[in-house]
Symmetry: C2
Subunit: 372 residues, 2 copies
Amino acid sequence: MAGAPESNLAAVVHTSQGDYRALVGRGLIAHLGDEARNAGLRGKAFLIADEAVFRVCVRQVQESMEAAGFETHVLVLQSGETTKNLDKIRDIYAWLARLRAERQDVVLAVGGGVMGDAAGFAAATYRRGVPFIQVPTTLASMVDASLGGKVAVNLPEGKNLVGAFHQPKLVLSDIDTLKTLPDREMAAGWAEAIKHGLIMDPELLSTFETEADRLLGLKDDLAVDVIRRSVGIKAKVVSSDEFETGDTRVLLNYGHTIGHALESVSEYGQFLHGEAVSIGMMGAARICRDLGLISDELIDRQRALLERYKLPTSAPGMDVNAVFEATKSDKKSAGGVIRWVVLEGSGKSSTRNDVPDDIVRSAIASLVGFRN
Amino acid sequence: MAGAPESNLAAVVHTSQGDYRALVGRGLIAHLGDEARNAGLRGKAFLIADEAVFRVCVRQVQESMEAAGFETHVLVLQSGETTKNLDKIRDIYAWLARLRAERQDVVLAVGGGVMGDAAGFAAATYRRGVPFIQVPTTLASMVDASLGGKVAVNLPEGKNLVGAFHQPKLVLSDIDTLKTLPDREMAAGWAEAIKHGLIMDPELLSTFETEADRLLGLKDDLAVDVIRRSVGIKAKVVSSDEFETGDTRVLLNYGHTIGHALESVSEYGQFLHGEAVSIGMMGAARICRDLGLISDELIDRQRALLERYKLPTSAPGMDVNAVFEATKSDKKSAGGVIRWVVLEGSGKSSTRNDVPDDIVRSAIASLVGFRN
């Protein structure tokens, strides 16, 4: 079948479970069914949609799949980080089992990162794994969460403690679905896209700086190109380091150690993930400067850029000790040592596991308002 | 480190997640810690043991790991098919999270197939997968469940509906742990071992027939050799068809379509899995004869062999219609068609998806006492 025009292809992601296409463009949902067929999928389609997604969009997904010959079923679930738990997974299992979903059927996640994680984990484990398609409808999910096969749910004991690597068969990002996305969520998505520039693409970083006006409204085709390029970076990284056992994929966690700590201390009620990452990147940049890796000028450049994209760069009033302690339980720690992602310049990053506690404390203090 | 003598090696299993050794012998637990080191494992060891396993055996496992330098923790859980559910998995997750188990730590399952499935599924999904060792202590688990990476739990809607392919780093079967195994459980294990002979090893099948006296008591070294050979067959099959997408692994389900149906209709309270498989193999053999694939003589030979190993070969009083309907929901069905594993002779098998309903009904009727 025809599928989407090849100009929409952001990347072909290579994985041990097979290759898949990541598409970014406008009006792509119309091609979803054909793309699913081209990816070799048959059987029934089980759509799991975030209730926050507009019904007309869910209906378009359904129509596209049906036009390509898939029988479809739809489950609409409440979303949100606090509901990304095993109870939701049980609900999905029960729905799939009741409808007798089989191994060759396909689960589609329609929504943001939380929905992709939950539906993806259910798909990873129902009947030991059924095929899975990501249809991200938030910018953050398009440029980050939907790619790379990481799926997970939270335990009372911690975030994303349970999960799997379950590679999608297709990731289709239709920019038209972003029209109705709230401003705060758009900004949170830009944080991850900008992060890709900061850690490994100086040219993309520069485009974010010089073309902010054209990008922010999403009206210009440049916005689609930039999102596609950001997706391409993530795709390249996860292709080269599928299971995060190498030294590449960890770089995507720039800003995440302090970001996760901020989310944890605020009990996931105060910041969107991208907002916490934005603040975390400011903390990380400060650490880089104190390690002698970058100049004040790059810190200021990063701050101006994040603020231009309406992102927070500080967390006034947060408890320094609590945030510091929370960094210690970051899941990227191994053997008790935290692996910090550091910038070595504009668009260049690496990791360090020898960052002194006082430098970390000082960086956190600079974020919460007690500068020293 | 030294590890176990190489004469105990049943097979090296090849998987997409790496190779692992399957060992079968006497007194092997003493070598467990060294074998774990040789498999590249470090970190802490989290032992999850079935409460039915003798404490002295659990203690030996712990001592062996500690002697090789692993810090150990032990969780003893109630076992049984009816408790192989998501609640048990939650308990394991909570225990691992409380003790801050990390990605490089190792989970050991000490017990039968149920414990291997539950602990294995927890290991497959905790932090997106942690290393895992199987220490089976039942014959059924040694020759079947512990090998091949299939782990699963039951849903209210069906058995093994949730699971993963999570390959162990090592499967160590110490025949000494079978000393205290109840007779019924030993027989259930022989059912799976004999099945391996029936489907693909005429010579092994013949040994089971001619050497029953030596094998049944487990006192003779021949018993260890035969178990090792049976493990080798399973290992070869799962190496060649890791994800059951080919035509080989499905052969291991000889007797399982009717077996699963018997278990389901009796609500998992009447038969051990191996017992249901034994009866199911008699039903399957009858189907093979009615399809013109084998002679009455092979059916009789199979019956005599199973009875010699104290296995049931009929299920008097079961409801034919209920069992027949239950075969339809067997998880090996694809697109609604049941894939029957059939014998084509002694030690030779294949699959058929065109078995007429009346032949299936007639085979089931022959098992429950209404011969026609």
